[in-house]
């Protein structure tokens, strides 16, 4: 997927004035946030925080032993009859899928939701090879027929209203007009069911890979992931290398935390552990199962100070909680992963110079860290990325000069007092309705701050003088 993150500010500006988007994102994020809060702390604050701590510890332990766990996972998956492939980048991952498709004479593919295939642009690669591909997650299906990209990690069409979804289904899928979400879902369900039955290959992501058993863990609510991974002859799972967890017990803990954080459910409707292809004597399941372990920049992150970002389990809680995401939606972030975690990993995966506004797309309120089920210190990473940008000389000429002048003025009390007086005089003399230069945006939404006629230090010194006089 093409990176358009340097366009964040104008894209956000457009989103802010998009009434439909505002209605939909506000409703969706608020609902996700509230449900998460209720589910996470249903057993009390202490229990919820303990779950977070355990989840955080498991993911950090897994990251600390990543290389060994990957080898263990590979060996155990192979022992289960799963064919394991490695992809250094998106291109190689797509080539693997195309090669598998050729090998098994695949004409038609059904997909369940996978963010890593958004990174690799798999759908385009399949279509270019004349292989029909259909997204079967309802949200992803709507994204696909609308020619869009997902705007949220777990709720791909959180930016769309019910009405815009209706219009799209009527226009692109010949749905008989209806306003009822239940009827719309039934319509899509019928349509998807036929394609499931006809598909040669199912492509899924993977929420977890359990190293000790060589299993693929998937959570889903619509049943489409189970159909995708069991009906077609061939199942291919593309999984980021950071999704490895050591044991089934770890998996069990994380599957408590993921749905609670993502959708506010104690458990998703379908929670699957896939242990390989159809065994002799079994009546269903694919004949061939492949797992493609995708790096695509992750091992680079692993070598940096930002390795902790790889602990992310893609729950989307930081998106729902983020006051910036709540007003911009996801597309403004310009790549696969939006919101606070996207503001961290987009620059890391695609290059800081290609996503330089994102580290600044935060008021540093800290909500993302508060709601993160694995306690990733996103605000600190954003601060560190800003520092990296300045070190790279990408701070911006105006800011470079301004900051140097500001630091000079604030590193001696005499200059600080003098600077304050000049600013106060200028402000009180000019009485500007709007501020100049880069400060102009401030006065669009807020009054110009007023300097006090006497600073605190003047008031204090006058008081001290008076007291001395009295004595």
């Amino acid at each position: 997927m093409k990176v358009q993150s340097n366009n964040f500010i104008p894209a956000a500006q457009i989103a802010i004035h998009d009434v439909d988007l505002q209605t939909a994102v506000s409703f969706g994020t608020n609902s996700g946030f509230t449900k998460r809060q209720a589910a996470m702390f249903a057993g009390g604050e202490a229990h919820g925080q303990a779950l977070r701590q355990q989840a955080a510890a498991i993911k950090r332990h897994a990251l600390n032993h990543l290389a060994d766990l990957l080898e263990q996972a590979e060996a155990n998956m192979q022992a289960n009859g799963i064919q394991v492939l490695w992809a250094i980048d998106g291109e190689e991952a797509n080539q693997h899928v195309l090669e598998i498709a050729r090998r098994h004479d695949v004409k038609s593919v059904v997909k369940s939701k996978s963010m890593v295939t958004e990174e690799t642009g798999l759908n385009h690669a399949l279509e270019a090879a004349d292989i029909a591909v259909l997204e079967t997650d309802l949200g992803e299906y709507i994204v696909q027929i609308g020619g869009e990209t997902p705007s949220h990690i777990v709720a791909p069409i959180v930016h769309k209203t019910k009405e815009s979804i209706r219009d799209l289904l009527v226009a692109k899928a010949n749905m008989p007009p209806t306003d009822d979400p239940g009827e719309m879902t039934q319509f899509a369900r019928q349509l998807l069911r036929e394609r499931f039955l006809a598909a040669d290959m199912g492509v899924s992501g993977g929420n977890f890979i359990v190293a000790e058993t060589g299993s693929i863990g998937l959570v889903s609510n619509e049943g489409n992931a189970r159909l995708t991974t069991s009906l077609p002859r061939v199942h291919v799972a593309l999984v980021g290398i950071e999704k490895i967890v050591p044991t089934v017990a770890d998996y069990a803990l994380l599957t408590q935390v993921l749905p609670r954080s993502a959708t506010g459910q104690a458990m998703t409707v379908y929670t699957s552990l896939i242990n390989g292809p159809r065994q002799p004597g079994e009546t269903d399941g694919p004949e061939h199962v492949y797992v493609i372990l995708v790096d695509n920049g992750r091992s680079h992150i692993y070598t940096t100070a930002y390795a902790e970002a790889l602990a992310c389990i893609r729950c989307g809680a930081c998106l729902n909680g983020c006051p910036v995401y709540q007003v911009t939606g996801g597309h403004a972030y310009g790549w696969v992963y939006p919101g606070p975690i996207g503001a961290v990993i987009t620059p890391l995966l695609t290059g800081l110079e290609n996503a330089s506004p994102l580290p600044y797309a935060s008021s540093l309120c800290g909500m993302c860290k508060e709601v993160c089920p694995v306690d990733i210190d996103i605000p600190r990473m954003l601060l560190d990325l800003r520092h990296d940008l300045v070190e790279m000389g990408q701070g911006g000429a105006v800011w470079n000069v301004g900051m140097r002048a500001w630091a000079w003025g604030n590193s001696a009390p005499g200059r600080f007092v003098f600077g304050g007086k000049v600013a106060a005089r200028a402000a009180n003399w000019l009485k500007p309705k709007s501020l100049p230069g880069p400060l102009g945006g401030w006065t669009k939404y807020r009054n110009t701050p007023k300097f006090a006629p006497k600073s605190f230090r003047q008031l204090w010194q006058e008081r001290e003088q008076e007291r001395k006089g009295v004595r």
């Binding site: 500010i9 956000a12 500006q13 802010i16 006051p323 910036v324 709540q326 007003v327 911009t328 506004p357 600044y360 797309a361 935060s362 008021s363 540093l364 309120c365 800290g366 909500m367 860290k369 508060e370 601060l383 990325l385 800003r386 520092h387 990296d388 940008l389 300045v390 701070g395 800011w399 900051m403 140097r404 500001w406 630091a407 604030n410 590193s411 009390p413 600080f416 304050g420 600013a423 106060a424 880069p438 400060l439 102009g440 945006g441 401030w442 669009k444 939404y445 807020r446 009054n447 701050p449 007023k450 300097f451 006090a452 600073s455 605190f456 230090r457 003047q458 008031l459 204090w460 010194q461």
Partner: protein
């Protein structure tokens, strides 16, 4: 109540770090802080060498510039026994960031750690530091108040209860619960300049929440949030009802409870 594992500040002279914004924009709030502390029998001192904590540069990624300004803070407060600051944000800068900022600087590392350990946010100092939960004060007229939890105070210093305890101790004050107390107003320092439209949209949401609160006064511990929210309300022709907690408390202590 925040967990305090720092030297007790009781009976010590307080050096006030008033913050650059209070110094230039809200000096009366600084005087309110002094009034409340002196009302509690605390000796207050104002080191004249102080400027800013350095957070604007730090948050913008300019660490060399932040260090340059922070060094001035370390110099200004070198004789301090206890530092009190009427801001959760500037307090968090000193408490959390200074030790990182000077971790590799042998000249300033120890002093940065010492000053971090003796720095208290204003309400936290009174309630957790001094153990005072009732100011024995009274507001001139009955008022309904809600609290806006400033993000850095809430999430970096663990402040939540102290401000409510103190406001709630005033006669004539009715504290109302407010669902949106923990939602950012969108200020974020330079964020409100760099991403003025996004910040403005966040402010718009916050102002809608303020209207739903039914409060006469919205109390906050940071003048930066106050500047932002009142600036937005005034721009829309609405009553700027946000006040710094020190001003509310100072008003209360001028009248003793009946």
């Amino acid at each position: 109540m925040a967990i305090v594992d720092r030297p007790s500040p009781k009976g010590k002279r307080v050096s006030l770090f008033v913050t650059c914004m209070v110094d230039m924009l809200y000096p009366e709030t600084g005087m309110s802080v002094v009034d409340v502390l002196e009302h509690l029998g605390v000796e207050v001192d104002f080191p004249l060498g102080q400027t800013c904590c350095g957070q604007p540069a730090f948050n913008a990624g300019y660490r060399a510039e932040a260090r340059q300004v922070a060094v001035q803070f370390l110099k200004a407060f070198q004789d301090a026994e206890v530092i009190v600051v009427p801001s959760g944000s500037c307090g968090a800068m000193v408490r959390h960031e200074y030790p990182h900022l000077f971790a590799d600087d042998p000249r300033w590392r120890d002093e940065a750690q010492r000053l971090a350990s003796i720095t208290w946010e204003f309400t936290e100092f009174i309630v957790d530091g001094l153990g005072v939960t009732d100011l024995n004060g009274r507001l001139p007229t009955p008022q309904t108040l809600a609290v806006h939890d400033s993000c850095h105070g809430l999430r970096l210093l663990g402040l939540k209860q102290a401000s409510r305890t103190l406001v709630g101790s005033l006669e004539n004050a009715t504290l109302v619960a407010w669902d949106n107390s923990e939602i950012c107003c969108g200020f974020g320092g330079l964020f409100s300049v760099k991403m003025a439209d996004v910040s403005g949209a966040m402010l718009g949401k916050k102002m809608a929440h303020i209207e739903q609160s039914q409060a006469d006064t919205l109390v906050t511990g940071d003048v930066s949030c106050l500047l932002h929210m009142n600036g937005g309300l005034a721009k829309q022709g609405k009553r700027p009802l946000v006040r710094h907690i020190a001003d509310v408390l100072a008003e209360g202590i001028h009248k003793v409870k009946k």
